[in-house]
Symmetry: C2
Subunit: 197 residues, 2 copies
């Protein structure tokens, strides 16, 4: 029954990714030993590395998985909504793996800074979010919701830069309770022209 088998493989893969996400977030990349990955996933190293060639491949799959999920939110609701979700995450912590997403993202940022090989492998996989943001903005422009005096490429870079700032801000444990009106301002900046007062 190949269909059942594929479902089983997919479920197993999901189980590994979910466990590994929590493990990387808690211990960082170096600290996520094979032993800890076994504990976090509830699977043997044999089972884990049947699905992923090595730890780096597992981490990249995870980061890619997160980027795709984020791209889905962007496609539906825009990048500013992704940022609003980030702000709400501390409240959701322990409930879902929402906070783990931030952990993965920080680990990606750290390794991008310190590991040129990782940077090269990641570059190939990090286009989804930019593409999703850009496509969403193009649709918004067609719908007449977007300002039309600034290139979509510039607006995309602007939103990504603010997201990067927000991730960094949260990572440093700085207070974020005053961020909602800032995100309102960001959203309004990419929208159709305001009326002159």
């Amino acid at each position: 029954m190949p269909r059942v088998s594929q479902d089983h493989l997919d479920a197993r893969r999901r189980q590994i990714l979910d466990g590994a996400r929590a493990c990387f977030a808690r211990h960082g990349y170096e600290g996520a030993t094979v032993r800890r990955l076994e504990e976090a996933t509830g699977l043997s190293r044999g089972a884990i590395f049947h699905h992923f060639r090595d730890k780096e491949s597992l981490f990249l799959a995870l980061a890619e998985d997160d980027a795709l999920r984020m791209a889905d939110v962007v496609a539906e609701q825009g990048l500013v909504q992704v940022m609003r979700d980030l702000l709400e995450e501390p409240a959701k912590r322990d409930e879902e793996h929402a906070a783990d997403w931030l952990g993965t993202r920080l680990e990606v940022s750290r390794r991008l800074r310190t590991d040129p090989d990782f940077r090269a492998r990641w570059a190939e996989r990090s286009e989804q979010l930019t593409a999703a943001t850009r496509q969403r903005l193009l649709r918004q422009r067609e719908a007449g919701n977007l300002r039309d005096d600034v290139d979509v490429t510039v607006l995309t870079s602007f939103l990504e830069l603010v997201l990067e700032g927000l991730v960094s801000h949260l990572a440093m444990g700085l207070p974020a309770d005053d961020m909602e009106p800032v995100l309102d301002l960001v959203e309004e900046t990419v929208r159709r022209h305001r009326r002159s007062s």
Copy 2:
């Protein structure tokens, strides 16, 4: 001659800070050993720790020094100009210690993430930049250059968030040659209302 003596002390302090800045930027906080600090400053450990109680105090003095210099630029030219200067820094590298400033800033970010004690000590010292940004914006509002439909606190947080994103972006070694129009957009966002098209 106490005046000469004070000048001498100030010059010595400056010499230590300049050498240490390059040293921390090159080796990171942990990697900046006392031996390397001696080499970088051209002074003995006795001389260095006559001026600064310990390595942490030296690092904090450096970070504070950078924040004050940045606050000066903000007061004169605004936070967006600080960001524009950051973009130009790779070109100036080796010429001045401009790039070292980014190194210190990244080290601050890293330690804020990983070291709660440092976070507490840094919080006391990190208000200058926010204060300078806020004061500059208030003056700009009085001069009629600033939009008046958004609170200055929100505009200040917005600019700081974008700066944080830019620092993170540069730290990850991502391309920044397309950032000028993004900063134009940021600058325009805090300015007086555009006319409706």
